[in-house]
């Protein structure tokens, strides 16, 4: 016989204003199986919880129903209190008489009757609750970090410094990402490479970090604490163990005119190359598409000149499987394609601004390379067309960003600040030059950010024009920029030597494909989605996978680094325990009735359903049935809804319980 205790919460006045809580307590007290019922002003408060604990012990309660707010809010609170009083926590259920009743009704009489019904239903359900033991799964204390930009590097270093092994996977031949491309960084103007490269070297030298560059994620299987990741290590054509990084191969390679992606294609590289001098690892890679040996089968100069014999034309892609317990996704961003509409993308290009047609219309990242001391011009601001120094330069902000008609409605967040920085860098390098900026708003929230922007105008003489550009065209060796100054209300025409477009930040190409491999969700722009915008900003909805950096949304460096450390902290929290506790609200298969059609397996979004063979003692196969792995099951109940003979059921939500609830009405 059940001895159910029912506790009705006033929630201050949130519930008691509309619901007659005393009457609810009185009425449900009469229900069969209920041996105790009471009401209290704040059940979640300490005295409220003590009331519950005391009642469980004094009244020898077998089940508990707390009628209060949503279980999303306080189910954990009351289950802990129930456990503290010596009952299995899963014998406690909540009846939601706040969101589902008092908040949405005005008529006190009717709301009270509805509250009685809601509590009555939960009384019937809790009667059939089973004692559930907490599920524990082992944790593999190794972490995978995808992406070797500043976000991935920071997360990897933090986790590794804590003593846990890290597998860092980077798609490009070197670590560094976009931060390695930048010249100087706002708001302090310190050299990006100077602060970035020591961290890259730290990663390479860290005994706990295993680095895979020129590699990609091929397959992700498993679940929190127990992922199996297949990594595709692309053939470098250079043996990393033999190569000393002397660079002779690069000086002798006859293919010298290949645009270097790292330099935004304005600098040139050889076919065997490292993307930039500070690359980590400092092992070259052969670009097989442009290498003479791969194209014609002749040449092989690099192999001949290589002292240690590291060049290996026969090297093949390798598949490596690594077991990890947590994954940090830090794949970063890409810049908006201005001149052409990406294939199949709903996002439109900006053909009217002449990018790709007029050589001196460049994007912000190209300007970074021009301004960088290690860039193709050695840090001189020179026009790509004729190598002259531009004396009038126009910066245009919000290219792509905040343009719903172009398909991107969000703000790219960093462009206001980096354009202000660009005007300063320009002023420092071209003393007699003049910078103009067309902008919509200047968005400068952040420590020392607004001061930095003001400085670009007040001390570095940048002219800011509020308004957008309508047209650009080449006239002789000048670019005529036509726009409006809406602050003054006049049309403006500037004959510029160079134009820099602050293009929108987008997720990396292929971000959606990676998300599908990982089983994480992403928004319509392919930015990865966090589990909760405010309270769980670095976790994915998929347990054990965390986000860092611009793959989640546009971010600047300080924010990226903070998030990377936060993601690392989450990983370390996970690794602080040897076993992982999971809520035991999982599906169970009634094997005697299961006929093995595996409809449940087909619909399971978590891959929790496995095939189980039932054999007799002689090992003869009796039947093949479905088995739900409790370590993976997330308790969504899709299998239960799909099973034609209803032989898979979710604990706490069995058909018997649901029908009992309906019949209680």
């Amino acid at each position: 016989m059940s001895r159910i205790g029912v506790f009705i919460c006033h929630c201050g006045e949130n519930i008691s204003r509309t619901v007659d809580v005393e009457r609810v307590a009185l009425e449900v007290g009469k229900l069969p199986g209920v041996s105790f019922s009471t009401d209290y002003k704040y059940m979640c408060s300490d005295p409220g919880q003590n009331l519950l604990k005391k009642a469980i012990q004094d009244q020898k309660l077998t089940h508990v129903v707390v009628a209060a707010c949503s279980p999303r809010m306080h189910e954990v609170t009351f289950r802990k209190a129930t456990e503290a009083a010596g009952l299995n926590p899963f014998l406690c259920e909540m009846a939601n008489i706040r969101e589902h009743c008092s908040w949405v009704h005005e008529n006190r009489e009717e709301a009270t009757i509805k509250a009685i019904d809601i509590v009555g239903m939960m009384v019937e359900r809790v009667k059939k609750n089973r004692v559930l033991p907490t599920i524990t799964v082992p944790v593999t204390k190794r972490s995978l970090v995808i992406g070797g930009g500043i976000a991935g590097i920071q997360a990897a270093l933090d986790i590794a410094d804590c003593g846990h092994e890290v597998i860092l996977v980077e798609r490009e031949p070197s670590l560094g990402g976009h931060m390695a491309q930048l010249s100087e960084t706002f708001p302090t103007l310190d050299c990006s490479q100077c602060i970035m490269t020591p961290k890259m070297v730290d990663v390479a030298n860290h005994p706990k970090i295993k680095l895979y560059t020129y590699s990609e994620i091929e397959l992700v299987e498993g679940y929190i604490g127990n992922f199996q990741v297949t990594i595709k290590k692309r053939a470098r054509s250079v043996d990393e163990d033999k190569c000393t990084g002397c660079g002779v191969c690069m000086t002798k390679c006859p293919q010298k005119k290949i645009p270097n992606k790292f330099d935004q294609n304005i600098g040139m590289r050889t076919a065997i190359y490292v993307p930039f001098p500070q690359a980590v690892p400092n092992t070259p890679v052969i670009d097989r598409e442009n290498c003479t040996w791969y194209k014609t089968g002749k040449c092989g100069v690099c192999q001949k000149v290589c002292g240690p014999g590291a060049v290996d034309f026969e090297q093949e892609d390798q598949l490596i499987v690594e077991a990890v317990g947590a994954i940090v996704v830090a794949t970063g961003f890409d810049l908006y394609t201005i001149d052409e509409k990406p294939k199949g993308s709903p996002i439109k290009g900006y053909g009217e601004f002449g990018h790709g047609k007029i050589p001196d219309v460049i994007d912000g990242m190209t300007f970074e390379r021009l301004a960088s001391a290690s860039g193709p011009t050695g840090g001189k601001i020179l026009r790509p067309s004729d190598g002259k120094e531009p004396k009038q330069i126009v910066f245009i902000q919000c290219i792509g960003s905040r343009a719903r008609e172009k398909g991107i409605s969000y703000c790219s967040k960093v462009c206001c600040m980096y354009t202000a920085k660009h005007t300063m860098l320009y002023h420092h390098k071209v003393h007699d030059g003049q910078a103009y900026v067309f902008f919509m708003d200047a968005r400068t929230p952040g420590k020392s950010y607004d001061e930095f922007w003001r400085r670009s105008i007040e001390e570095e003489e940048a002219v800011y024009i509020r308004g957008m550009v309508s047209r650009l065209y080449q006239k002789g060796d000048k670019i005529v920029v036509m726009g409006s100054d809406i602050a003054v209300g006049v049309q403006v025409e500037i004959e510029a030597d160079m134009v820099v477009l602050a293009t929108a930040i987008q997720p990396q190409k292929g971000a959606d494909a990676l998300a599908q491999k990982l089983g994480i969700s992403y928004d319509k722009y392919n930015f990865y989605s966090e589990a909760h915008a405010k309270l769980r900003p670095v976790e994915c909805a998929t347990a054990g996978i965390y986000l860092a950096g611009a793959c989640q949304g546009p971010k600047d460096i300080p924010e990226t680094v903070s998030q990377a450390s936060a993601a690392a902290a989450k990983v370390m929290t996970l690794f602080s325990k040897d076993k992982l506790e999971r809520e035991p609200i999982v599906a169970r298969v009634k094997e005697s009735a299961c006929v093995g059609c595996f409809a449940c397996k087909k619909v399971c979004a978590y891959g929790a359903v496995e095939v189980k063979e039932i054999r007799d003692r002689q090992g003869n196969l009796i039947k093949t049935v479905a088995y739900v792995n409790p370590g993976v099951c997330s308790g969504c109940g899709t299998c239960q809804a799909t099973c034609p003979s209803k032989c898979v059921e979710l604990d706490g939500y069995t058909d018997e319980q649901i029908v009992a609830m309906i019949e209680a009405l």
Partner: protein, 305 residues
């Protein structure tokens, strides 16, 4: 009432007998499920043979209406366990077998499929010895797109002559769709009120392979067991929904119904919905996931209002 040419059936019978005798005597299969002559003149019944000498009992005529796929699932569990099984299949039966393979109930390598080129079989209300005509042909055969099974281990080299026929279910569905919802409800209520809950439709259906039917459960009781209107309606809705996207259209349920409830009409309507919503049709193809156990971002979302 134009006669339909069934002259190839004699040659098919010969071919089936030879093939079944061969695979049994060579030990390729342990048993063959097929049709044999029954007691009444011209009638046929299912038979399971394991002796090569019994192969000459096998026939194929227009009276061979049964879907033999059901003999490989729960109904005759001991048959598949004996080893590899030969089975005589019409196109509609092969669709059911393909469905069962997709739902992990059968494995292709455990079967030896003897496909039958079929011009049609007799309707359930006509006498077995009747000649096959446009009037006596089974309703399902008027809509058949599977006269010639493919992917079988053996198919007699015959080509059925299949005249274009008026699609009986399509006509009836169009008539019902033109009714108001209240009229349609009244129509089905009248049909379901005839049901005596004998569950013959369930027993004959190859897709009703559950070991414990949802409708036999009593904790909680999902469907009222007594033949009263509410429980009858619930049973037939459960049946139609469970068959949606799976039913191969063999119409055995309708044939065996002692109360003449047009059960396959309901199945055809569900199949039509599935075709419109997910472009799915039952076929010889073994699908990894059926239309209702698969999600794609192109799925119809119009039901969310």
């Amino acid at each position: 009432m134009t006669p339909i040419d069934t002259s190839i059936y004699a040659a098919i019978t010969d071919a089936i007998q030879t093939e079944a005798g061969r695979i049994l005597s060579e030990g390729q299969v342990t048993a063959v499920v097929g049709y044999a002559a029954a007691r009444r003149k011209g009638s046929a019944q299912p038979i399971v043979i394991s002796n090569p000498d019994d192969a000459q009992k096998l026939i194929f005529t227009a009276a061979c209406v049964n879907n033999l796929a059901v003999y490989l699932t729960k109904a005759k569990k001991e048959i598949p366990k004996t080893g590899k099984i030969g089975i005589v299949v019409k196109g509609c039966d092969l669709k059911a077998l393909s469905g069962l393979m997709g739902e992990s109930q059968l494995k292709r390598e455990d079967l030896y499929l003897i496909g039958v080129p079929c011009a049609g079989v007799l309707g359930s209300t006509v006498q077995p010895a009747t000649e096959l005509t446009t009037g006596t042909i089974a309703a399902k055969c008027t809509e058949c797109d599977a006269h010639l099974p493919t992917g079988c281990d053996f198919v007699p080299n015959q080509t059925p002559i299949t005249p274009e026929l008026e699609q009986k279910y399509a006509v009836e569905i169009a008539r019902l769709e033109a009714l108001t919802p209240a009229e349609r409800w009244a129509y089905w209520q009248e049909q379901f009120s005839k049901c005596i809950k004998c569950y013959a439709c369930r027993q004959v259906c190859p897709f009703c392979f559950c070991e414990q039917c949802l409708c036999d459960r009593n904790k909680p009781q999902m469907v009222e067991t007594t033949p009263r209107p509410a429980g009858n309606t619930a049973w037939h809705i459960v049946r139609a929904m469970h068959l949606a996207g799976r039913c191969a259209g063999c119409a055995e349920c309708e044939r065996v119904c002692p109360m003449d409830i047009p059960l396959n009409l309901l199945n055809r309507k569900m199949a039509k919905e599935l075709k419109e919503l997910y472009d799915h049709e039952a076929s010889f193809e073994v699908l990894d996931k059926g239309p209702l156990t698969m999600f794609t971002d192109k799925d119809d979302q119009s039901f969310i209002k």
